[in-house]
């Protein structure tokens, strides 16, 4: 049951496809909440891409314990830098989502609608 594809390529493809789905959702919908959901989906996809670029063939987690000795780490551990960046990126993604949702709530309170067609003041 092997496809011959490397693991990171499968994950890269999935992540990019998910990002494309998110972009599609962000651009086609007119409802602000749907746009934010599209953004969240795109966010998840890009996290997948970033983690996949750190994968090393048959690598293990970069945690040194009984299963991975200090000398082995250089040859068997995966790249820890994308993992560290993605941990922070996830938290920042939540923050961005929270700010966008707060704006959505304010816009709804102002106009009682969520369709972006109703907000034409800043349109030129």
């Amino acid at each position: 049951m092997t496809t011959g594809l490397p693991v990171s390529t499968i994950l890269l493809t999935t992540g990019f496809l998910l990002a494309l789905i998110g972009i599609w959702g962000m651009l086609t919908h007119r409802n602000i909440l749907r746009i934010i959901i599209g953004f969240a989906v795109m966010d998840t996809g890009l996290h997948l891409v970033m983690v996949a670029t750190g994968y090393i063939t048959l690598g293990t987690a970069p945690i040194i314990d009984g299963a991975l000795s200090k000398a082995d780490a250089a040859s068997r551990a995966i790249d820890p830098i994308p993992s560290a960046l993605v941990v922070t990126a996830i938290v920042i993604g939540l923050s961005v989502t929270a700010v966008m949702l707060a704006y959505a709530i304010r816009l709804y309170a102002a106009k009682k609608t969520l369709s972006i067609d109703a907000f034409t003041e800043s349109k030129w």
Partner: protein, 80 residues
Amino acid sequence: MLEFLLLLVCASILVSGVLAVCLKNVLPAMVASGLASLFAAVSFLLLAAPDVAMAEAAIGSGLATFIFLYAIRKTGNGKG
């Protein structure tokens, strides 16, 4: 075998993503986006990045979904 599992998880991620974008109602779409996040956490685990998997499972699929839930409740169930 691991590769088969990975393909299954990837297919689940993509299906959840499509559902999150295409569903008519906002509430199920939000749940589907949280589901995509959860499957992404599983795939992080398969990619040997348990720290990221923990963060994604707790934040991406837990807290973000509930913030969405509160926002939907405050904006008239997401209609209009």
